[in-house]
Amino acid sequence: MTEPLLKIRGLTLEGLSDETWTQIVNGVDLDLHRGEVLGLIGESGAGKSTIGLAAMGFTRDGVRISGGSVEFDGIDLVNARMGVKRDLLGKRIAYVAQSAAASFNPAHKLIDQHTEAPVEHGVMNEKESQEDAMRLYERLRLPNPEEIGFRYPHQVSGGQLQRAMTAMAMSCRPDLIIFDEPTTALDVTTQIEVLAAIRDIVEQFGTAAIYITHDLAVVAQMADRIKVLFRGDEVEEAATRTMLDSPQEDYTRSLWAVRSFERPEKPAPAAGAVPVISVDAIDAFYGDVQVLRGVSFDIHEGRTVAVVGESGSGKSTAARCITGLLPPRSGVIRLDGEELPLDYRKRSKEQLRQIQMIYQMADTALNPRKTIGEIIGRPVEFYRGLKGAKRRDRVAQLLHEIELPPGEYIDRLPSELSGGQKQRIGIARALAAEPKFIICDEVTSALDQLVAEGILRLLARLQDERKLSYMFITHDLATVRAISDEVVVMKDGEVVEQGPKREMFSPPHHPYTDLLLSSVPEMDPDWLTNLLEERGRDNIGDAAVNKMA
């Protein structure tokens, strides 16, 4: 067998936390041959991005390579001088980042960023590179390939930017591309077209790639081999089909099994029952732009209504309307059959108490300078009037309910908690008001699958104990399947379909629901290929969505 293009041996990496260096990757080996795609998979903290960057001889601030070797085509990247590495980066090794929107420089046109590497590395001149960019844009099926490069990043949609970034990585025809979660930030329908484009162009140019993701179904479509990582250690590595069919390790099997959580759908509410929350024909505007058009849905006691749709479909806006943060211009919102003032400032304390919210980013939703006791204690005191020892007891009780030992956590700061624990604090804070209705806005999207499942189980248990009603905003259909009783599908500020979960997941669907459902990647490695054959290259992603409009 020929010598691999990339050879990593015993790579250890250290990260700086609290002013001490601790090991975050513990001796990982990796071989990658020309034209091969390796999937790196694991939860956050597994070290996959760090390894991906180290494969380029690069570390972020606060990370250092402490041992092992990285050899690219015979060149030792660990000990190479900066100048040697700079000659390789962009030219022979390229990188595609998670968020193209953040990774394109907002101050320059796409094509100027595209031509930068070829021109600076002396591979092509400006004009050749521009023409090549247009060919790549066309190959990646970007609309108006002749013109799109002359736009600024903010003028191009997320899915298009991600493809433009793939084109940019291809600009010097590198031997190796590192894809670092390139579709994680995208909607499912957009994800497909990016996946198809990446696979296509990698095959065409025979480029070797490391594809980093936490999504198994995605990696199954993209990679020839999969390497599973857990907390800086390799768990196992095998060819994609072998890995999917017969994983050897328990940890790998647990990753495969995560999607198994599903609670039974509750019986339909009694006829004539008054819903806890009733949203009736609301229209909402940001300035002059209408963002909600006649949105109506009901949420009954003890039930979960999942609101799904892509970014910009108006899911979170509907939540803002219910909380009164964004008063709708017309329409009615009722709580237990009683009309609520549209502006939260006009609502009574009792009305405010009944509607609580849990946010997507627990990191930013908790005040970093307050202890857990203060964060949960505040609504306890505000809504329930408990003070001193009584307040502390109540906080301890709430912590107990979210399965965190009170004695250990009550005096900690949010920064001392893990992502899943922070989200639990967010739940406890909402519970502190003893509401009837809780809006969960993408509460599991920022969490790893195992942790997310724990949160979903907790929410389900609390619902059963307290007859809580949830409005569950998400773009992840697996989550919808796991917890919802009813589903509301939104698109462009309108409800396109709603009904019990059972009906929503069995045909016939509204065509948009169908598109959403069929766009969710499946574990089958042939899924993408079959889908493309079935639908045709021009009937995926934005194109398919636009056809529906």
């Binding site: 980066l89 420089n105 907002p106 101050a107």
Partner: protein, 331 residues
């Protein structure tokens, strides 16, 4: 583009409104100053009759509101009135108040000198400070960075007259390269003018560098953790190119604002340096006029200072807006 145009027009209107409010404040403040031109000029001989007669000649016996609108109307048509001192002198020699030198005539050459000094200083200081800031960001946390910081902070912390004397000592006395006096006058050639202006300009450069340099450094370093900076590095771009081409264009807004504030300072706050170098700028005229309660001149100077601040901030605002591609190129 109409979007940007609308914002600019809004800012312009707001600037005019600010100028109007400032004119009220200036007029009120100047009129609240203790002391009275007539009394100061007459000194020992200030009999009630004499004071009264001078006040009547200068219109000081009119109600304040009336005088304000009189002044504002004049200012809008470019007539800033007649200096009290000049008017008084004219009436002594038997001519009408109208024959005295107008405030405009008095201020114009001084103001031109001030602008010349500010211009020369800006041409030296802005590229110097921004360049130093870029280098400090590039070599951050090295000896160079720390040295540049110490240098800039030392200069801004030292009194201006002290810096001026240090420069005079080194550049005029020990090594007589530049003249220590900057008495420029009308009709002087540009070369000679520049030579004489150089020392005060260098002094002022030392004073204004720190702000601009530190803001440039901070604004750039602030962006270095951005994903697009990482992307530029991963494309194999040199550190200098990463900073100048990728970080700087996105850091322009705060830098422009600090530059504007410092340029405004160069127009309005340089009286100490003018005194040290005997430079005939507007600062000296202003201080002299305050001393003798020459209200029209004081008001005119204040108005010019305010206008300079407002105008420069306005320009900074507009440039910051234009530096943002989202506003230049809407979707």
């Amino acid at each position: 583009m109409s979007n940007v145009l609308r914002i600019i027009l809004q800012r312009l209107a707001l600037g005019l409104l600010t100028l109007f409010v400032v004119s009220v404040v200036i007029f009120a403040a100047v009129n609240l100053l203790p002391g009275d031109f007539a009394q100061v000029i007459l000194g020992q001989g200030a009999t009630p009759q004499a004071v009264e007669s001078i006040r009547r000649d200068l219109g000081l016996d009119q109600p304040v509101v009336l005088r304000y609108f009189d002044w504002l109307g004049g200012a809008l048509t470019g007539d800033l009135g007649t200096s009290f001192a000049q008017a008084n002198f004219a009436s002594f020699v038997g001519e009408g108040a109208a024959r005295g030198t107008t405030v405009m005539q008095q201020i114009a050459p001084r103001f031109a000198n001030t602008m010349f000094l500010a211009g020369v200083t800006a041409l030296i200081a802005v590229p110097f400070a921004v360049g130093l800031g870029i280098l400090a960001a590039l070599y951050r946390n090295t000896a160079f960075d720390k040295g540049a910081n110490v240098f800039a902070l030392t200069s801004i912390s030292s009194p201006e007259f002290f810096l001026a004397y240090v420069l005079i000592l080194f550049l005029a006395v020990l090594n007589p390269i530049l003249p220590s006096l900057s008495n420029i006058y009308a009709g002087m050639g540009l070369g000679e003018r520049l030579e004489r202006t150089l020392l005060p300009a260098l002094t002022l450069t030392l004073v204004v560098t720190a702000h601009m340099m530190r803001m440039t450094r901070a604004a750039i370093i602030n962006l270095l953790a951005s994903p697009y900076i990482e992307m530029a590095r991963l494309k194999g771009m040199s550190p200098m190119r990463v900073i100048v081409k990728h970080a700087l264009p996105n850091a322009l807004a705060p830098i422009i604002n600090v530059i504007a504030i410092n340029l405004a300072y160069l127009i309005t706050g340089v009286v100490v340096v003018e005194v040290v170098f005997v430079y005939p700028g507007i600062g000296q005229l202003f201080v002299d006029s305050v001393k003798i309660r020459d209200i029209p001149v004081v008001q005119a100077c204040c108005l010019i200072f305010a206008a300079a601040y407002i105008l420069l901030n306005l320009v900074a605002d507009i440039l910051s807006i234009l530096s943002n591609p989202r506003l230049r190129h809407p979707k």
